[in-house]
Subunit: 119 residues, 2 copies
DNA sequence: CAAGATTGAGAAATCAATCTTG
DNA sequence: CAAGATTGATTTCTCAATCTTG
């Protein structure tokens, strides 16, 4: 997955951030993004630094609360996200093709018990 | 797991390296260690750098092949490994206690299909 | 030249400390 | 003061390039 994403300049953490922004309609405060990505705020600060360098995201002061910064998807960011998701889906399909439908259900049930906070 | 290991100055990668060295009787060439840890050689170089700083491992030239360096467990390294394994086992037992015996078997079967190379 | 290891650069993640704003 | 974000330091990991020895 990683090597294929790299061909379009993305990585798993970068794509995850772009997806959360897309889910939220294109922008989100950095703190909220940290919550969605299940990581620490300083991590998001640096991740957005890199995405901003890539031209996929822009920062802007939150008009409502001036302490907060919004991460905003650019047009290039939107495009990269769509292409990244396509690559990701293809790779996932290949990996899980080795499981039967019943095994997939069992796995889902087991994961929900091992990691209840992520479901 | 990580926070508990941190109380004795270890981390998951550090403990993994100490365990592989213990398995091998106390010493191993760095390249071979990289194979066992399923990572790249440069990664092991740095990991052993830190373990050497901690006094848990020592480097030595391989008498057989002078290109190769051996990572050798110190007494402190052996002790830290034992204590780390104890901490790890306790934590794992707690996590998997939420699964039934049948679910544990199903998980083992599923993992063997998803990651055949690691079994 | 190959194989073992190291170095340098960069991505990713965490923590503690700090700065700004509410 | 508390909340949002950033900075600096450290760990971990990868890759490409290099050095040494076989």
């Amino acid at each position: 997955v990683e090597s294929r994403l790299a061909t379009i300049g993305l990585s798993i953490p970068k794509l995850a951030a772009l997806q959360r922004l897309t889910d939220a309609g294109g922008s989100m405060p950095l703190g909220q993004l940290a919550g969605r990505l299940a990581c620490v705020k300083s991590n998001v600060t640096q991740l957005i630094d890199r995405l901003e360098t890539d031209g996929l995201v822009q920062r802007s002061v939150d008009p409502v609360d001036k302490r907060s910064r919004l991460a905003i998807l650019t047009e290039a960011g939107r495009t990269a996200c769509e292409e990244g998701v396509r690559i990701q889906r293809t790779a996932e399909t290949e990996v899980f093709a080795s499981l039967s439908q019943e095994e997939a259900s069992q796995l889902a049930e087991i994961i929900s018990k091992l990691a209840p906070h992520h479901c």
